[in-house]
Symmetry: C2
Subunit: 174 residues, 2 copies
């Protein structure tokens, strides 16, 4: 995260990048970078970045209750997550609370201050997304999601020459 600002953003009239090869990859990188830098810019007034917002949002929505949950849910490194949570806790937007039944886990609760900020944060998030999806019909958004989802699925079940990626899809214990 942090992408602080779009790289210069010279003055490209259109987004026609390298045609051949990884075009799709380039386009995804550019689109994602634009989304993230826009989000970072909108969140800057609150002293937050995109990742911190995402974490806060997932916690508030109940999609996750612990750091491990968040990491699984967001495909994020556990070490980095610890530090994200540190920053959120420092800012007083989050509280950590050791679980009594299982003393390994630490529950994460959005603090009152965080809960108070969330509506504005959410507004910033939807603003950026809607802006990037300007002119998209609902069907087109759905199509985009579907195509991206298929790419992800393909990546999870690679059919490469020798299974080079570290997928150890332990398919169900015997």
């Amino acid at each position: 995260m942090v992408r602080r600002a779009t790289i210069k953003a010279e003055t490209p009239p259109a987004a026609h990048l390298p045609e051949g090869g990884l075009s799709v990859g380039y386009l995804m990188g550019r689109a994602r970078a634009s989304l993230l830098s826009g989000l970072d810019a909108e969140l800057a007034p609150f002293g937050l970045n995109a990742m911190q917002y995402a974490v806060l949002k997932q916690l508030a929505e109940g999609s996750a209750r612990t750091a491990a949950d968040l990491c699984r849910y967001m495909y994020y490194d556990t070490g980095s997550m610890t530090r994200v949570l540190d920053r959120l806790e420092e800012k007083g937007l989050l509280r950590r609370e050791r679980c009594r039944e299982d003393r390994r886990v630490v529950f994460l609760r959005v603090a009152a201050a965080g809960r108070a900020q969330l509506p504005r944060l959410r507004a910033a998030g939807t603003r950026v997304l809607d802006d990037h999806l300007r002119g998209f019909s609902p069907a087109e958004v759905e199509a985009l999601k579907r195509l991206l989802g298929r790419m992800i699925d393909n990546g999870l079940r690679p059919k490469l020459t020798g299974g080079a990626t570290d997928l150890h899809a332990r398919g169900g214990k015997p």
Copy 2:
């Protein structure tokens, strides 16, 4: 770059992420990460990462001749580019050659060793991309590119509340 390997890659049966909110952003991040980690894995045997490959490729194809060219073309930071080129030069895949007419610029030439590796690198690149696009019809690939391109264009011409992003689209000299 460098994403060295996919984050754990636990065992998610499908890519159904957070429905609401930034879903598109999450999906793009995941898809891009999958592409990059796959590419890094395929390039690891050559001691290269995705970024180094991309640079070498653009240079070989004549899309750019200098560091500044590459940065504009790939939306990349000039400082980071210098270091990417340093590594490629260290590996003997690239030569720097000061221009005589304009002594500020340094021409970049793919060294013989680099040119020799390129076919295998290219093969790795297309392998990863094709793998992620498995089952996609040409029309679907085209649709995906078009949708991503529109998102990028939207991001370049933001219609946000107060032009928060640092776009200074100096619209054509008068």
